[in-house]
Chain length 264, copies 2
Amino acid sequence: MSTTFERATAVRRAGDGVYDVELDAAYSMGGPLHGGYLMATLLRAALADSPHPHPVANGFHFLRTPRPGPARVRVERLKSGRTAATARATLIQDDQVVLDSLVSAGTLDPVAEPDWLGEPPEIAPIEKCEEPWTLTPDGPPGLAGQVEFRHDPETSGWLRGEPLGRPEMRGYVRMREQPQDPDPYVLAVATDAMPPIVFGIGKMGWAPTVELTWHMRAVPAPGWLAIRVVGRMVADGWFDEDVELWDSTGRLVAQARQMARVGR
Amino acid sequence: MSTTFERATAVRRAGDGVYDVELDAAYSMGGPLHGGYLMATLLRAALADSPHPHPVANGFHFLRTPRPGPARVRVERLKSGRTAATARATLIQDDQVVLDSLVSAGTLDPVAEPDWLGEPPEIAPIEKCEEPWTLTPDGPPGLAGQVEFRHDPETSGWLRGEPLGRPEMRGYVRMREQPQDPDPYVLAVATDAMPPIVFGIGKMGWAPTVELTWHMRAVPAPGWLAIRVVGRMVADGWFDEDVELWDSTGRLVAQARQMARVGR
């Protein structure tokens, strides 16, 4: 018994530190495969033989655009310690590096209470949020067929051609197929799930991610993930996206920052 | 004519993608070598043959504690594109990986004006800030002999045993040797220059960095760097540090986030 998402991100051992994967076109975003989906797939390989189950610190550099279909992940184990185990995981297609990563995994205590926790972001209650896709008889396109979104109406003006005036989006995400509770791999998808926040300043268009680093901070509870994405600067064609994911019990479960290029 | 810092972080080509380095005990922090110093040294190797001069997105995983003295950096070039060039740079000592990194470099326009910029942090004027070290006749110890700090009095209570009650530090940093204007390598040191922000909640002691990712956002002007470091959560022995560096002309020049372990 596995979910659609588990099958789409599955890795098959093909040798020592070598895994075969089948990249699934269902996780595409108007053409290119979704970065979060690729990260989830790489993480399955990186953690396949790890002594630690939780990807605490994960940095990904997006080099080329892979096609749906077969690809390979090479995993190089760099250290296996009591607190953390670090590996490099590299996605390869046509003998070229598509996506490279360094992953430090740890073992988080699922019932740990924070010693200190900042204020959660203010996000409208989910019943006040809007779903951005017009569901057609064939279902929504690409990633939105797999991931369900709700947008806080304060930050979703770009959907109606009325951008907020600053790079910020807030709302909720979960996998459309249920039950599919948040786990490390769903978190990887969610950290890159929102549209580019530069939509909020009217800069529409595909905005390729160059690098994304995310941190798993706690084991998420079942249910929707609340998400806030904010940027500090858009300059010289580059922008940052800073992401927080909070679970349904109010725990900070992941943080991320990515650097991306403004779409043209 | 080179500065002390340039000599301490110099790399010497020893083959194709292989560089010899001499780790300098002057950049130690009560024993271990400073993470920012190690990052600066790795970056010199990563950028030595890069078509792009600015380390835009740089992720470092700290695996082992190196000794001062000779070590080697291996650089694997992964992609050389018009917008970004990505390389892996690995610091090796005694045949073990000490520090591993993925670096995506770009070419920033030194006179670009931001399309959008968030509010700068409020930091006390430098003349109201305090220098934390009692200068002895031999000068301050370790890293503080190389890097000069000023602490905003609102967040420096930990110096007097009166922690602020939240993980935050603000102030200014620059290299002690002048002139040594901020450049990508000084930024690397500065992103990791402040003491662990958990000092602000009374958790003293050495707090090892597991992973640090930083982004160069603009070419810094000469002068002091204003720095703000804040954390979102301290839990289960892990804490995050989110860093912003602003130059003397009010530009956001670097952002960083690290995951570290609470000292015991």
